[in-house]
């Protein structure tokens, strides 16, 4: 809760600082997030409820908050050049990003459907603006409009779903200590299971849209491509994390109720994997490829959710950590190259390794992690999910979703093809771009290096990470 307030205050202060001097907004926002991160660790005590018991700050939610704040910190901290498009308004962009993070923090801790809705809205509305924050760029405007129209539609359906669930159960509370929560819907039920299920289905629709899982993914490629690089990185990491956690909290709290939700999820996971990977194969633009790859990553994460057991939360955390770190390294690297060559195509990266071996090397490490090659975190993220699905399958009579693991395994082979295109471009292709890409500032390179180091050593500390979750 203190972290949430800290981020909120930082956002407001950033807005005012921007009025005084635009240059100060980045240091102020960065500092505020650093404080919030510290507060997060300080806050790591016994779980407690807040806001009339509508928020429940567990260990898991604190750790996810920490991850999100860290992502924001890295993004804003390294944004000295990727923000230049905003000119005098850069403080507004930072403030909106911070507001959006507030929404994510609420989504990690909600124990009431109203808070879920508030969180989703606080997360999304700044993003509609942010996607269009490059005002002179047509693609950015298009991206904003597309995101807003479809996003508003999805939120509407989410809200309708919440209303139906409330109608069936007479409560907004999910699980937790409240006696009158939605699980006890039989007690209050007038319309019965059908109404409840319909509500859950609509809520899933709305939330799956947020994480860009197939078949609700159609917005993502265009929006990701059109939005400024800084905002795309933000959407691919923070929004994905928040959405996945929101879905997980909700589904775990209703215990899936019956098998059909597991199957629905399994099919969505499989579809996301296949659609994301196959669409990514033929893209010319690296940014668009990353957009499609993020759809397939949503597939892996949803594969994890099918397990329907709280054990999956640390597994998801590890996957999201690995995914976010590697996405950030790639996005920051891409935004540096694209900012100076003016294009996001694979060809813009040709021969990068010759000129900037360290940047290319770090991006290659991130790419290998994303592709799931050991001993990097990306591999262990996938592996933990696969292992959980198999364990669950061995326990249940029908074998669980082992077939889905096969789909995921084959898909991770396919993904090598497009992930390696960037490595081939950077390392093995002669340079063709006329624009000279200058060397990245040392401090940014250092941050990227730290993130790659994190990717390398995180598996060594996975046990401790799991331990924290079950404090």
């Amino acid at each position: 809760m203190i972290a949430l307030v800290t981020v909120l205050l930082t956002a407001i202060i950033t807005l005012f600082v921007n009025l005084v001097n635009t240059k100060w907004s980045r240091p102020v926002a960065t500092l505020g997030l650093a404080v919030a991160l510290g507060v997060c660790f300080y806050d790591f005590s016994n779980p407690y409820e807040d806001a009339s018991e509508m928020l429940y700050f567990s260990h898991a939610s604190t750790i996810f908050s920490g991850l999100t704040i860290l992502i924001g910190l890295i993004l804003i901290g390294t944004s000295e050049y990727s923000i230049t498009y905003a000119g005098k308004n850069r403080g507004d962009v930072y403030a909106l990003m911070l507001f959006s993070i507030c929404g994510a923090l609420i989504l990690f801790a909600y124990s009431n459907l109203l808070m879920l809705f508030l969180g989703v809205e606080i997360l999304s509305i700044p993003l509609y603006v942010l996607a269009g924050s490059d005002k002179d760029n047509l693609a950015s405007n298009e991206s904003s409009l597309k995101y807003f129209l479809q996003g508003a539609f999805a939120t509407g359906i989410l809200l309708f779903g919440i209303a139906l669930v409330y109608g069936a159960s007479g409560s907004f509370f999910i699980g937790g200590s409240k006696a009158n929560n939605i699980i006890n819907y039989q007690l209050y039920s007038g319309g019965g299971l059908t109404m409840f299920n319909m509500g859950v289905f609509m809520m899933m629709f709305g939330l799956a849209f947020k994480i860009a899982a197939a078949p609700f993914h159609f917005w993502s490629a265009d929006v990701y491509e059109g939005a400024p690089d800084l905002i795309t990185s933000f959407m691919a990491t923070v929004v994905k994390t928040a959405g996945i956690v929101a879905i997980t909290i909700f589904l775990l709290s209703i215990g899936f109720l019956n098998k059909q939700w597991e199957m629905t999820f399994a099919i969505m996971a499989g579809l996301s994997l296949v659609v994301g990977n196959f669409s990514a194969l033929k893209q010319m633009s690296f940014k668009r490829t990353l957009a499609y790859s993020s759809i397939s990553h949503a597939g892996y994460l949803m594969l994890g959710i099918t397990i329907n057991d709280p054990i999956i939360i640390p597994t998801l955390l590890f996957y999201l950590l690995a995914y976010s770190l590697s996405t950030l390294v790639l996005m920051i690297g891409m935004s540096w190259v694209a900012g100076h060559t003016g294009k996001h195509d694979f060809t813009a990266f040709n021969g990068l390794a010759k000129k900037h071996p360290i940047l290319a090397g770090l991006m290659a490490v991130a790419m290998l992690s994303m592709a799931g090659l050991p001993p990097l975190s990306g591999f262990f993220g996938k592996y933990f999910i696969f292992a959980e699905v198999f364990n669950q399958g061995a326990l249940s009579k029908d074998g669980g979703f082992w077939w889905l693991v096969l789909v995921a395994a084959i898909n991770s082979v396919i993904s090598i093809y497009y992930y390696f295109r960037i490595i081939i471009a950077m390392f093995f292709s002669p340079a063709i771009s006329e624009e000279e890409v200058p060397a990245m500032p040392r401090i940014n390179l250092f941050v990227l290096g730290l993130m790659c180091l994190g990717l390398l050593i995180a598996p060594l500390f996975a046990t401790q990470l799991y331990g924290l979750m079950f404090y």
Binding site: L373, P374, F390, V413, I416, P459, A462, T463
Partner: protein, 484 residues
Amino acid sequence: MELILIPLFFAAVQFFVKGRTASWLALASTLVSLGWTICMISGYAMDGSTVNLVDVEWLKFAGIRFTLAYDGIALMMVLLTNLALPIILLASWDRNYGKSPLYLGLALLMQAALVGVFLAQDGILFYVFWELALIPIYFISAIWGGENKNRITLKFFIYTFFGSIFMLVGLLLWKSYGSSTNGFAWMSLVQSQIPSDIAFWAFLGFALAFAIKLPLFPFHTWQPDTYTVAPAGGTMLLSGIMLKMGLFGFIKWALPLVPHVGENMMHFLSVLAVIGIVYGSIIAIKQNDMKRLVAFSSMAHVGLIAAGIFTQSLEGLQGAIIQMLNHGITAIGLFFVIDVIERRMETRELTLLSGIAKVSPVFAVMTLILVMGSVAVPLTNGFVGEFILLKSVFDSNATLGVIAGLTIIFCAVYLLRMVQFSLFGPSNAQNEKFTPLTWAEGIGLGTLCFFVLWIGINPDPFFGLTERSVSNLLSLFNAIKVMP
């Protein structure tokens, strides 16, 4: 443990050094590793026992331990790796890529990963090292490769990754559905019981990964192209050591599943292996590019080794293990020879070469020794291994044994054809370009020839190293109880 840390450390050092210092440091590192290996072998009791090197908790909740241990078989493989590395570095000593710290670092990283594969006693650890070995060789081939390198190396990478991801699924099946008491620990997996239908799928996953790595007959399409396109050092790493990972994997990780899935699987795989022998040999006869020729011959030889492993007999495994060492030596030797010729004559086409023996008799003698070793002439190492392998295959299935026996005849045909075209015949005008061997080349080829003759004349120490380990392994596998 030091065997992994030494190369890793010196690979990291390569970031900070330049020029010849880098080469000398890398060479020194590989020599230290070799010395360390020899110390380990001389300290080993030869009684087939397993010696623990390190055993710590890694990911407790997932049942993964960081366990490295060795027995005779692992020592043999480590010996091959650490013997091959200095020679590979010597082979690329005067080449442009061989001077690059990046190449040296990648080669050392590869060495660490390979040693890890041979020593790992935990399924996931094995998988991690297995994949780790793929990354450096991909970069070596793709950075310094020849024509069409991007397409070919990507195909190689995706092909092998495709196999190994199924190995991961197989491992997960084995652990989740088996009654393993200690996570992924090898011994615990081997002794666990597993329903035969699950075991079938798990075995298929392992077999696919190893068959692609070998490569076994229908999965070989990546191999000739990759061998041809990779720089000589990369080809040596691939053929000399990396494909032994597949063979070693079959012995250690796939055979324990055989009792659960039944012997039919083994017969099927043996037939594939023998098809590979004949197929590889026949194609090799028609090759004009020397590197392609040796690539296909390598496929034939490995087919025979695999057939020996599939017999699951003491002789078959013993022959396979010694032949793995032999094939490592001769394959590296032959690619070395080809590289020496290519560097000077700027071609690998047999039709453009002639009479090199007249200009450099020493080189010709060393080439002949290596070729004889590959053809399996008595008193060379190839004879020792292939004879035992053929005997074991013949004992288990006479028809297959006879067909597999063709390998020696075919091998004589294509390798002697290669020798005849390149070394003998009238000396052509181009041969002036054939400068004498450098010291690095001389030492490298000389060492290889020495091992060819040593193993050929006195193979007993090498057999002795692995004999008890193999029989222990087989009795362990025979004691596996199958779930009713």
